[in-house]
């Protein structure tokens, strides 16, 4: 390129990077004045009303109210500063802030320039982000537009681009950016040895195709989607939404076009005949919090979830702070409160109540579906066997019934006598005193006591008061030795004695629909006393008890009674058959047991299937109303679903569902979506976006540093079928991305944030990546993809329970070493180390994480057993993979930073090794403790001399804390 051409290109490309609206001597109408007018004046002096005949939403109207250059003589200004309350504007409202009046005065004094297209809506159409994508012809003609644009901007600022980084650095950078994992030393060497000219493009393509890349992209998406494994709010119980997360991974793994991905995330449930995966994908907006606390207003929380959906949709796809318009028209951007609730209306039509997790669907994995089918098949087979045996069993039963009836008829033995339960209490209880002991009921036969609370229904005994106890007594008599059975259930705590012997002590809460405890006992020939003591800790409660004693023909009294009864009800007939099968027909009992087992297996297979939260619209849409001041209890005008006016309209003929909204977002007409998405991916690769405010493309957001490039990339993204991998390929094959990250003092002075990309950035790795990297370096990383959240080690007690008994159960096997994105995410208490590294709580969408650099992070990386374990794995690995100290040290550096150490680095490493080896030999007990604490990571390294292993562990722990190991260089 000729110098002159280059300069021209430079000027053209960077011109658009300046202010988007004309600036007149420091007064920017669009930024400073338009918001004031639009928020305070247009309501009464706009298109709808023109009080006093004044209209300020047109250029001519506005100019008619001012004398350019003379604020004091301008009617507009005069009205703002009037002291007479009937004169002062806005009428019947507080006066404008002094700073606002001052801005208006300054604007008038500077000439009162008004853009031609001023329409009362804050100069919206002139704002760059809402304009259609503009393709720069010179960029459009290039295979890769990035470098031309970036270099031109650098040139214009007198900045020199850094040279291309060395190959090792680039392979490492590529691996971390694309896969969220470091390269293995073998991958680095293989690439270095490759002589093909297109080896870089091949590597980019290979890693883009890896599952690891899909996981890395999912990790990014989970923050935006505020994915978590719990419901949030006070209770914060678990939810089962990981199938949604796995559908996201799957989408990235097959490079699903981002428009299709968007449609499924927002409205997969509304697609014609949606697949299970499409319905699951719609769970994007079910990642909102759910409050299952008692006493709350469900509508408040249903509304809160929708507010979150509007805000999240606007942030994630539109890079817009529409959320500000929940309570009033947006102060700076062209979004009215009405438009806010028009967006709200799209999400206001689900069947949710705000008081439960529904709607949910059973979402089996492929493996679970297979197991379920097998279990169903097994049950059917056993049932068929049972059906086949039915006639023979029926005959056997008839014979048994007849024989027992005869036996009973001719028996001289009387039936067992069973009295009625009598209750003593309820008595308020302080939780320690035992009523039974005070009454002297636990030893020997019960004493006669005065009766309270008579007239309870048979079998069921109510104990209504919280914090009370009662004692129930039952007396019985049998005439033979045999097998007795006591069945009971109680709420909340229970103790039971049979003939003075304690037979049950249970503090487990229990439903009272069927007896849970069956207590067999040796029945003597004589009197029996059953004593049951029940506590009730809260809410209504009680207990349920039945006693069975053996009588004539060795039958319990209830069965004997039925056998001699002439007209049995169907239930009674069933009861008799069931008893016969269980006690007197071994063949049938065996079959029954097999059926029960198959049923159990099926139930278990069913229980394992996660219930995923999905979107589902109600057949009859709700009427959405504007909430005055954002309060759902103050409904105002009804609104129909619709999109903000500043953006292209919904296509004619389109409906008004979430699906229509999703299709509109990715129709290609909407310039914001592609810009916003491209900018986010750019930020993943460069550390910062071309627009630094990733979540705000409005007038208060930053301007793009390279507007032509942003538009060109966005246009290509849309034209190329929303192909994320294509975008990544453009980035990873650009020179801008491949520069050295070395920071020249002059460049730092001129461009501290590296906005002009003269060098590569050095962002600290995200915490998940940091953990994945260390696991990979240690050779511990599990390659398992998907599944329920896992629990790697974290310190005792950090999972602060809030009205919950849920426990963190540290995984022992493979799940201890899974990628960070699978870590169980509890909103009220996220994984402690993640929090120390700026992970969000996932209570709300997070578009960018901070990258703090704190002492707590140093403590975590040095001391967190989850990281120390990685050092142990790494130590064992180098002992296995290399022969002597020098080779091992070099190997360790290669694994950790993808390069060999220079001499000074090597000597430092070996010095520390020698020191620690000496210490470990002198203190074998210390070394043993160090190794024992890390036994999970040292499987297979049992042969290594402990002092060696311990010394290398200390070295590895240090190396894993190198700055170079925790940043992407």
């Amino acid at each position: 390129m000729h110098l002159a051409t280059l300069l021209l290109a430079t000027m053209l490309l960077v011109a658009a990077a300046g202010r988007a609206t004309p600036t007149v001597e420091g007064v920017d109408f669009a930024r400073e004045v338009a918001p004031i007018l639009s928020a305070n004046c247009i309501e009464c002096h706009g298109a709808e009303k023109q009080k006093g005949g004044l209209r300020l939403d047109t250029r001519d109207g506005l100019l008619a109210s001012v004398v350019p250059g003379d604020a004091a003589a301008s009617g507009l200004h005069e009205r703002l500063v009037a002291t007479d309350l009937d004169e002062r504007m806005p009428l019947d409202r507080p006066p404008l802030a002094a700073s606002e009046i001052e801005a208006v005065a300054r604007w008038i004094a500077a000439g009162a320039r008004v853009p031609d297209d001023w329409g009362g809506a804050q100069g919206a159409s002139t704002h760059w982000a809402y304009r259609p994508l503009a393709r720069d012809e010179r960029l459009a003609g290039l295979a890769n537009p990035i470098d031309a644009a970036v270099d031109a901007a650098l040139e214009a600022r007198g900045l020199r681009p850094a040279p291309r980084a060395d190959e090792r650095t680039l392979v490492r950078r590529l691996s971390l950016d694309l896969r969220g994992l470091p390269p293995t030393p073998e991958e680095v060497e293989e690439h270095l040895a490759d002589r093909r000219t297109d080896k870089w493009e091949r590597l980019v393509s290979k890693w883009l195709d890896s599952v690891a890349h899909a996981e890395r992209m999912a990790q990014w998406w989970l923050d935006l989607a505020r994915y978590a494994d719990t419901n949030g709010y006070e209770k914060d119980d678990r939810r089962d939404n990981w199938r949604w997360r796995d559908v996201v991974i799957d989408g990235f793994a097959r490079n699903q076009p981002f428009d299709e991905f968007t449609i499924e995330q927002l409205a997969g449930d509304l697609l014609p005949e949606p697949t299970l995966e499409q319905r699951l994908a719609s769970g994007f907006h079910r990642n909102t919090l759910v409050n299952l606390e008692g006493g709350v207003d469900p509508e408040e929380f249903r509304a809160a979830a929708i507010v979150d959906r509007v805000g999240t949709t606007a942030t994630v796809w539109l890079g817009s702070t529409i959320a500000c318009a929940q309570c009033h028209n947006h102060k700076h951007d062209p979004f009215s409160q009405r438009e806010y609730y028009q967006l709200y209306a799209f999400f206001d039509r689900t069947v949710e109540t705000g008081a439960s997790l529904e709607p949910r669907i059973a979402a089996p994995t492929r493996e679970q579906s297979r197991l379920l089918a097998a279990a169903e098949e097994r049950l059917a087979a056993v049932r068929a066997e049972l059906d086949a045996a039915a006639p023979a069993l029926e005959a056997e039963y008839a014979a048994w019934e007849r024989a027992r009836q005869l036996e009973l008829q001719f028996s001289s033995e009387g039936p067992p006598e069973i009295g009625a339960w009598t209750i003593f209490g309820p008595v308020a209880d302080d939780g320690r005193r035992s009523l039974a002991r005070e009454l002297g009921l636990v030893e020997g036969a019960p004493r006669a006591l005065e009766l309270e609370g008579a007239g309870l229904p048979e079998g069921r005994h109510a104990l209504p008061l919280g914090g009370a106890s009662a004692v129930y007594v039952l007396e019985a008599r049998s005439w033979r030795k045999g097998k007795g059975l006591l069945r009971l259930s109680a709420d909340d705590r229970v103790r039971a004695w049979i003939d003075g012997r304690l037979v049950l002590e249970d503090a487990h809460w229990d439903a009272l629909d069927a007896p849970r405890h069956a207590i067999p006992f040796e029945q003597s020939n004589g009197a029996h006393a059953i004593v049951v003591e029940v506590w009730n800790d809260g809410g209504a409660g009680g207990f349920l008890g039945e006693l069975e004693l053996e009588g004539p023909a060795g039958l319990p009294q209830s069965i004997a009674r039925l056998l001699v009864k002439s007209d049995r009800s169907p239930e009674e007939r069933a009861l008799l058959r069931a008893w016969h099968r269980a006690h007197a027909a071994p063949a049938a009992a065996a079959l029954d047991a097999r059926v029960a087992q198959a049923e159990g297996a099926l139930a278990e297979a069913r229980a394992r299937i996660p219930l995923a939260l999905v979107m589902q619209d109600a057949p009859e849409p709700r009427t959405t109303r504007i909430h005055a001041k954002g309060d759902h209890r103050s409904p105002g005008d009804a609104v129909e679903p619709g999109v903000p006016q500043v953006l292209p309209p919904l296509p004619g003929g389109a409906g008004r569902t979430r699906l229509d909204l999703a299709r509109w977002l990715v129709s290609g007409d909407n310039p914001l979506v592609a810009r916003v998405v491209v900018n986010r991916v750019w930020a993943l690769a460069f550390g910062e976006g071309l627009v630094a405010t990733l979540d705000d493309f409005g007038t208060r957001g930053d301007l793009p540093t390279h507007p032509a490039l942003l538009d060109e990339l966005a246009a290509r993204f849309v034209a190329g079928g929303w192909n994320l991998r294509e975008l990544w390929t453009l980035i990873a094959t650009s020179e801008a991305w491949r520069r050295e990250s070395r920071v020249e003092p002059r460049a730092l002075e001129l461009d501290p944030r590296n906005a002009w990309l003269a060098r590569a950035s050095r962002p600290r790795l995200a915490i998940e990546t940091l953990r994945d990297a260390q696991l990979a370096m240690a050779g511990l990383l599990s390659e398992k993809v998907g599944g329920p959240g896992v629990m790697p080690p974290q310190p005792e007690g950090v999972w602060a329970p809030v009205y919950s008994d849920d426990r963190w159960t540290t995984a022992e096997g493979e799940d201890r070493f899974r990628r960070g994105l699978y870590t169980f995410w509890k909103r009220s208490s996220p994984y402690a180390t993640f929090m120390a590294f700026d992970a969000p709580s996932r209570e709300a969408s997070c578009t960018r994480r901070d990258r703090t650099n704190t002492p707590l992070q140093a403590l975590a990386l040095l001391n967190d057993p989850a990281f120390v374990e990685c050092a142990a794995g790494l130590a064992a690995r180098v002992l296995r993979e290399a022969g002597d100290d020098r080779a091992r040290a070099e190997r360790m550096w290669l694994v950790v930073v993808s390069r060999k150490p220079d001499n000074v680095e090597l000597e430092s490493t070996l010095r520390l090794l020698a020191l620690e080896r000496g210490r470990a030999l002198a203190d074998p007990a210390g070394a043993a403790r160090l190794l024992e604490a890390n036994r999970h990571a040292l499987r297979g390294a049992e042969e290594a001399p402990p002092a060696e292993l311990a010394a290398w562990l200390v070295v590895a722990n240090m190396l894993l804390n190198l700055d170079e190991a925790v940043v992407r260089g």
């Binding site: 600290r764 704190t854 707590l856 190794l931 200390v954 240090m958």
Partner: protein, 475 residues
């Protein structure tokens, strides 16, 4: 790291946007600069001369009953058991009360204390002795009547999560004053954590260096403070020396100022490994002091946390936030009965709260430390009787509650505001949560309308769009 003290201000400022770690250092630097009388562009500087430089907030999570502790109502006793006048109930919504509730007079005796004559019930004998050091604000009001949102409102001026907490604003505004400890520390006690969870000390959209650091009540007060099992201190030092050497080489080769920050943080971490256990080692306190607080070293308790709070304040920590669980006296059973659970909570907190206040006053720290004691809302003058419960209890009540305040810049020895004869509503000098925040910020030297941070296109402040300084509170 050998260069810690030798960085030039220029070098650090140049690190500017390079990382928030650098910002943490900036605030430290700004603090020092302020001490030297230099201005700073990196952190907001006070808008007027501050009267207070520290805050300790003892939050009684679950909301203690003002009617049984601070705001006696003879009329309520007189009408005990009568239905509440219907006029009170129009448009009211309760968390649990159903039907037409009955009034509940306090079962506890009140008396006047000190020269100020402030009234306390017999449940708080020790705090009562501090009456003349306290400002008893009986006219507090909030907008929230469920625990989590009300706590979040009290902490951040907004009922939903996402805004920076008061402590974060304080850290943001004043920076850190101690190189070896975080500027904002949080301590929890009681059976559970506060309902609002970790969001209560979130820095929201402020840089995360300003988030509250939760010191744990038992074991190590900071996570991962202890070296790995089996690793000696000598080994750790050797590791850090090697690490510093290698990182310094990298810093020289790459020139990224963030490396220097990281090196400094590793050294601060090393210092915290000793400073924090020293801080948390209550066994160094005299037996008499332990007895005055009712603290037992090693046992997680509110008393221990009060003692720890004093030690944190002494060491220059800006904001110490305590939460003590268990004040939610609904009267559904023996565990939350007004006549049993309230005295239990009072017993746990009265002595140590008073001891902390006394110690701060004795050492002179109270002169420029703000002390705040109280819950997230009040409790109803009516008996809750949930499901016909025979236990005594009160439901959540946002319309009136009492806070105790003391310290830097506040006019103590006064009772502020008044409620009606049933204690249902505030009838004089109402104070909203935003007013409270505005006033406390004022004491810290900030105009609450000017201490702002831009996020998502809007300037946010602790007091949202409301709040007025309560002039009558200022000394």
């Amino acid at each position: 790291m050998k260069g810690g003290a030798s960085w030039s201000r220029r070098e650090l400022l140049r690190a500017g946007g390079a990382g928030l770690g650098a910002m943490a250092l900036h605030s430290l630097l700004a603090e020092r600069a302020a001490a030297r009388g230099e201005g700073s562009t990196t952190a907001p500087s006070p808008h007027h001369a501050p009267r207070a430089r520290r805050v300790v907030h003892l939050h009684m999570a679950g909301a203690p009953s003002q009617l049984d502790l601070f705001d006696p109502k003879p009329k309520l006793r007189e009408l005990d058991g009568q239905p509440v006048p219907a006029s009170y109930l129009a448009g009211e919504r309760f968390a649990f009360i159903k039907g037409h509730p009955k009034l509940l007079g306090s079962p506890f005796e009140f008396a006047r204390h000190g020269e100020s004559g402030a009234e306390f019930s017999a449940l708080l004998p020790h705090l009562a002795k501090q009456a003349d050091r306290l400002l008893v604000a009986r006219s507090m009001r909030t907008t929230q009547f469920n625990h989590a949102p009300a706590q979040i409102y009290m902490a951040s001026g907004h009922e939903r999560i996402g805004r920076p907490s008061f402590g974060s604003w304080t850290s943001y505004g004043l920076g850190a004053a101690n190189r070896d400890l975080p500027a904002y520390c949080v301590l929890l006690s009681g059976r559970y954590g506060p309902d609002g969870g970790a969001s209560l000390w979130s820095s929201g959209f402020l840089p995360t260096v300003h988030q509250g650091v939760r010191l744990r009540g038992e074991g190590a007060p900071v996570l991962h403070l202890e070296d790995p099992e089996g690793l000696s201190r000598e080994s750790r030092r050797a590791q850090l020396d090697t690490l510093a050497e290698l990182n310094a080489r990298r810093r020289d080769a790459v020139g990224d100022p963030e490396i220097a920050t990281r090196m400094a943080q590793y050294e601060l971490a090393w210092r915290m490994q000793t400073s924090v256990p020293e801080l948390a080692d209550l066994s160094r306190e005299s037996a008499a002091t332990l007895a005055r607080y009712g603290a037992e070293p090693g046992r997680r308790s509110f008393a221990n946390n009060c003692l720890l709070a004093r030690r944190l304040l002494e060491r220059g920590v800006r904001f110490v936030q305590l939460y003590h669980w268990g004040w939610d006296s609904h009267g559904t059973g023996p565990d939350d009965d007004l006549t049993t659970s309230l005295p239990r909570r009072a017993l746990e907190t009265d002595r140590p709260s008073a001891a902390l206040l006394e110690d701060l006053a004795q050492s002179g720290l109270l002169e420029d430390t703000l002390f705040v004691w109280g819950g997230e809302f009040g409790r109803t003058p009516m008996n809750e009787e949930r499901n016909g419960s025979k236990f005594l209890g009160r439901d959540h009540h946002p319309h009136a509650f009492t806070l105790l305040l003391s310290g830097g810049g506040l006019k103590t020895g006064q009772t502020w505001g008044a409620t009606d004869e049933l204690g249902y509503r505030v009838v004089a000098d109402p104070v909203s949560v935003h007013d409270l925040h505005a006033t406390l910020l004022h004491c810290l030297g900030f105009d609450h309308e000017k201490l702002v941070h831009r996020s998502q296109g809007r300037d946010f402040r602790l007091t949202d769009v409301e709040g007025e300084v309560v002039r009558g509170w200022l000394a």
